[in-house]
């Protein structure tokens, strides 16, 4: 399966297992989603469980919170993460706080799916990575898969979770992994180990990172598309790096990160999102606090620049192989 099919399969499995799971969003019903993630679901489960919505993100999330309060388990889709902002109030002030403010009487067991990230010539409003806005909010979990296998297992776990989960899907790798060589041929998931996705139910627990490459010289923390770009750079440079796919940003798998950095003595953080106050800053602070005496070099952050996501200048903006390679050289020299 590619990542789209894996995500579709996760919803299919959960809708069949739990009559309270409903899927909603712009174009998700009859049409099956602009990325085909919900294809076939309405036909199989009916219009009251998979339905198109008006174009109002604040309404989509607000309605989902109300459905959650009733006892359903809604899986709303925000068509692009760039368009999640109208729903910010419902996510930050409502979904995230409902359990806390009602001392557990009302909850928001919703899973908000949203394609995110760049590398597709999406320009300013089809490329953003807003995860840092949400990792700052107490009460929300943030999950970002990097492979089809993980996408399905994590999405099932997110839907089953009784807390609100933001599930950001890196659209650059919906159809195949991406090594950062933007002018090279597009790859598909076919033949990739993580494209072998079981048809049925399985789950990957939230809050657990995955070590995708073991190594002893430097720890690279990444998620989403950047896992694949970083891996390719490491292989090409012949550096014995340990590459960790965080998979869940909140709650974070601090144990895996800490053990790895204490082993390697070096830490590099890679994300597409803009740099200042991005999630990399939190990762850097945590590593510094917990691994200070093990660090042999300053922590490196390789990120998008602090600008809106550009269109024609995309590959100068994107934290690709050159930027990662330079940072890798620097951190290994220290």
């Amino acid at each position: 399966m590619n990542m789209i099919q894996a995500i579709n399969s996760a919803m299919d499995v959960m809708m069949a297992r739990d009559a309270d799971v409903v899927v909603m969003g712009e174009d998700v019903g009859y049409f099956g989603g602009v990325f085909r993630a919900t294809a076939g679901l309405q036909k199989k489960f009916g219009k009251t469980r998979v339905f198109d919505t008006p174009i109002t993100e604040c309404g989509i999330i607000g309605v989902a919170v109300g459905m959650g309060a009733y006892g359903l388990r809604p899986v709303p889709e925000i068509q692009f993460a760039d368009y999640i902002y109208p729903a910010l109030d419902q996510l930050v002030s409502e979904a995230a706080r409902l359990r806390y403010r009602s001392a557990g009487e009302f909850t928001a067991p919703i899973t908000v799916r949203s394609p995110f990230g760049g590398g597709i010539f999406g320009g300013q409003t089809h490329s953003q990575s807003p995860e840092g806005i949400f990792t700052h909010v107490s009460g929300i979990k943030t999950v970002i898969p990097a492979t089809p296998y993980d996408a399905k297992g994590l999405l099932i776990a997110a839907i089953e979770d009784n807390d609100p989960v933001l599930f950001f899907e890196p659209k650059r790798i919906y159809n195949g992994p991406f090594d950062g060589q933007w002018d090279g041929p597009a790859k598909s998931w076919a033949g990739h180990k993580a494209a072998q996705v079981p048809e049925g139910y399985y789950r990957i627990p939230l809050g657990k990172a995955s070590i995708v490459r073991e190594g002893g010289d430097v720890t690279i923390l990444a998620y989403g598309t950047m896992v694949h770009v970083a891996l390719a750079v490491v292989e090409a440079a012949g550096v014995d790096a340990e590459v960790i796919d965080l998979r869940t940003l909140v709650p974070l798998d601090i144990e895996t990160i800490e053990a790895s950095v204490k082993k390697t003595g070096r830490c590099m953080i890679v994300h597409e999102a803009t740099r200042t106050a991005g999630f990399g800053a939190e990762l850097s602070a945590l590593v510094q606090e917990r691994c200070f005496h093990h660090l042999e070099a300053p922590i490196e952050r390789v990120t998008g620049f602090d600008t809106p996501y550009p269109h024609s200048l995309e590959w100068a903006y994107f934290p690709g192989p050159v930027r990662i390679g330079m940072a890798l050289k620097k951190i290994m020299k220290d």
Partner: protein
């Protein structure tokens, strides 16, 4: 830009609404249109939204100046039900008085009264089923009272004391009770609107028979959530009653800043394809009848109704507000729709089911009952007495299970507390 390059065109002017009366002015509401009681027609439950024009711009009224219930909207309630309605409204007013005073005495940090709006929540709740879900704003404490919810429990929340089910986490009056079918109140305005629609959609999708009702003030209708909610409610014909409490004021801003100079709030419904009723919100029987009608429309799958309750916020916005700074002092007494409690009392007297003596006796009895509840609640502590909940509850309920970073912060807080030696720390029940 100056106007020089367009010297031959008329100059534009920006209209900024201004209320008719400011402090020092004599309030005169003679231009507020108050149609006679009994005059508004009562439509069929399945009528199309487009046919509600006159009801959305007019005003449904039942109680006339002589205290009689007249016209097709008169709900024909038994004297016992009417007396019960009056009792709830009087209880709400007494509760408000008591808690307002408690705030002034420093026993709690904050309070908001519903004075003059008692009919809106109480009569509407009595027209709903006990398990219909309500999504209130902060001025519908009357819902809880009309559902016989414990006054002590409400006060415990106001005092954030050891009896507070919300563990002192919420600002006073932001009640929440699932058992009372009363959704957790949020400080963020109008967010409950799409949530109520979602709840109603879920009920419909599950083939349930329960409906939802939601309230917001006229000021909050300007929020985007209001628009989203109306759109969703209309598109999916959600079984929901959308109440807009037009009490003329959003803190210091008169209703003109929410658009009232150009239209009514009920009229907005028609544009969404929702049945819109504008009613006399100080007429408990009109509130009851309109809610009963809307509930029937929702329960029979004929869609949502928006009810504008035309009323007046008789007192300050909250204990932090002084209305004498922005409006005429005699507005409340000049308000043409009068006082909802007095009007219902007069009706009961007019039909020979009540008298002044019984009313006075009830006032005393209820004042005593509220006072007793207050004593009971204060035995659980008041806000000024420090910590009433175990300190580590601060971290509970952020997530279903506490993740490592919260466990670490909890341990840090407990260490700080041990270090500080503060007298209230972790002592059950404060001092």
């Amino acid at each position: 830009m100056t106007g020089d390059t367009h010297a031959n065109r008329p100059k534009l002017t920006l209209h900024v609404p201004e209320p008719k009366f400011r402090p020092g002015d004599k309030a005169d509401f003679s231009d507020v249109e108050v149609p006679p009681a009994g005059a508004a027609r009562r439509p069929e439950h399945g009528d199309a939204a487009a046919s509600f024009h006159e009801l959305a711009y007019g005003m449904v009224r039942v109680l006339d100046d002589a205290g009689r219930a007249v016209g097709p909207w008169a709900p024909r309630l038994s004297p016992d039900r009417l007396r019960q309605m009056l009792r709830y409204m009087v209880t709400l007013r007494a509760f408000d008085e008591r808690m307002f005073r408690a705030q002034r005495q420093g026993k709690t940090s904050f309070y908001m009264k519903a004075t003059g709006e008692e009919a809106v929540a109480v009569a509407a709740t009595m027209a709903l089923q006990r398990d219909d879900m309500t999504f209130p704003s902060y001025r519908q404490q009357g819902i809880l009272i009309a559902r016989d919810w414990s006054l002590v429990d409400m006060m415990n929340q106001i005092y954030s004391n050891r009896g507070d089910r919300l563990q002192g986490k919420q600002l006073p009056i932001m009640y929440s009770t699932k058992e009372g079918a009363f959704f957790s109140i949020s400080g963020n305005l109008a967010t409950q609107y799409p949530q109520a629609v979602g709840w109603a959609m879920a009920s419909a999708a599950k083939g349930d028979s329960r409906i939802a009702a939601v309230w917001c003030g006229e000021g909050s209708t300007a929020e985007g959530d209001f628009h989203s909610a109306c759109t969703f409610a209309s598109v999916y014909r959600a079984p929901v009653i959308l109440n807009v409490v037009n009490n003329q004021w959003a803190i210091s801003s008169f209703s003109g800043f929410a658009g009232a100079e150009a239209t009514t709030f009920a009229a907005r419904a028609v544009g969404y394809g929702i049945a819109g009723l504008r009613i006399d919100g100080n007429d408990a029987l009109a509130v009851y009848a309109a809610t009963e009608w809307a509930a029937e429309r929702a329960r029979t799958n004929q869609g949502p109704t928006l009810i504008e309750h035309f009323t007046y916020r008789a007192e300050g916005h909250s204990t932090s507000d002084d209305p004498s700074q922005y409006r005429s002092a005699d507005e409340a007494s000049e308000w043409p729709l009068g006082d909802p409690v007095r009007r219902l009392r007069d009706h009961l007297i007019a039909i020979g089911e009540w008298d002044d003596e019984r009313h006075k006796a009830q006032d005393l009895e209820i004042a005593e009952m509220v006072k007793k509840a207050q004593k009971e609640a204060e035995a659980n502590g008041i806000l000024g007495h420090g910590l009433h909940q175990p300190l580590d509850t601060l971290f509970e309920g952020v997530f279903e299970e506490m993740p490592w970073h919260l466990r670490e912060q909890q341990a840090q807080m407990l260490a700080e507390e041990a270090e500080s030696g503060r007298p209230w720390a972790r002592k059950e029940g404060g001092r």
